[in-house]
Subunit: 244 residues, 2 copies
């Protein structure tokens, strides 16, 4: 794979994603390491128009959900393992926060190997972070039972766009030597000025009527009020699914 | 990369992992998509003997931690973004559960791209799930401040072993079509019998004095009592780091 040229793809051609191809990628991704090799995840494959329409509101009706040939919802899943134990005279104890964290970890690592493999094959993906924002809508649409939880969504198709590569922080900003070194204001300047000076980000600040790029993130995209409200929603959904 | 031949590597040769090579992998992995391109993660690189020794107890003294040339601890990190906002007249609101979940997601996706790239280069890795079991010991050893949280640990080196490939469930077991299909007992048999019949797993059941493979997992490796106790510990650590 060439990781250097990967970009998020939100527009897809009419070409189908062959079921056999998709299944091979889903199988290959399962080589990813998991907790005790228990594979604490499941994948729901959505191809039907009705189900894409049912999922769309949970993702703020972003157009990729209905437009993509395939939508994948990857779930933390201790239910299958629990059922296995129940069928084998064993007493499972996975209805708790730690088990959710372990299963979410398995699911996310699996998801990213899938992304790496699919992108290496030329497929275009969009990772929808919205999955954690309104999980109950996804739980309802996909009929996810207790001890499962949606943690990631991917829209998948053949690319019909080639957007510019997005910027990244330099490794200075996120790699620490032996101990966490708390950034001083001059470090923050060094880490973030290249991003702040990009023409597209200057424009982003202007059209949003803000003074700084950081304000676009804190006042519009990821506000305290939204984060706190969605923390309540997330906790409720974890409770409903039997993890807290 | 050839995903089909990847395996977890726990024994490493004396050969060094070149700092330049490691840094290139850490940089390349940062092409992974993140929430709003904010890269809500940090990586602590441990090479010193003293720091490996400090980390070892948090990982139940598994020998890889002190034996590997490099240990990486990948952290969910909204602290850097919070500091950026504070330096730019913005009001960050990332001290909550949703922001932790978003940052943990970013960190885990980043981790897995790193794994795939490093393994493609021939490096050997062991993913330590123990990171979530005693996070406070890691927080103390690495001096992780509020709004950061360790979510993954990798030991990294050049392989000095070639263990057999481990088994995986067939895609039937974890891929669902349109809706989650709850497994019936006969499905459980179909999914798990190949695993249960493997000679190494039969031996595993025997030496542990159990009747079924599932019992080894529920009675010895991942017990309800441990899971519940570590759920309390995890919640405490999230509180300490300012996320709940």
């Amino acid at each position: 794979m060439d990781i250097h040229t990967r970009r998020t793809i939100r527009r897809y051609s009419d070409e189908e994603v062959e079921p056999y191809h998709l299944m091979r990628l889903l199988e290959d991704a399962s080589r990813t390491q998991t907790m005790g090799n228990l594979q604490l995840y499941s994948v729901i494959v959505t191809r039907s128009k009705d189900q894409k329409r049912a999922l769309a509101p949970a993702h703020f009706n972003q157009p990729m959900v209905e437009a993509a040939p395939v939508v994948l919802t990857i779930c933390a899943d201790v239910r299958r393992t629990t059922k296995w134990a129940q069928c084998r005279q064993a007493n499972p104890g996975f209805d708790n926060l730690l088990s959710f964290a372990n299963a979410a970890t398995d699911a996310l690592l699996y998801t990213q190997t899938f992304c790496n493999l699919a992108e290496a094959d030329g497929l275009g993906l969009c990772y929808l972070g919205t999955t954690l924002y309104q999980p109950e809508a996804i739980i309802d649409a996909l009929e996810l039972p207790e001890l499962t939880f949606p943690v990631a969504t991917l829209t998948v198709g053949w690319p019909a766009e080639e957007p510019p590569l997005s910027d990244r922080l330099s490794t200075d900003a996120f790699v620490h030597d032996e101990y966490y070194l708390d950034p001083a204001p001059e470090d923050i300047d060094r880490f973030y000025r290249p991003k702040e000076f990009l023409p597209e980000n200057c424009e982003f600040v202007r059209i949003n009527g803000k003074k700084t790029l950081a304000q676009v993130y804190t006042d519009i995209r990821y506000t305290r009020a939204d984060n706190e409200a969605m923390s309540v929603t997330l906790r409720q959904a974890l409770h409903r699914q039997g993890f807290v």
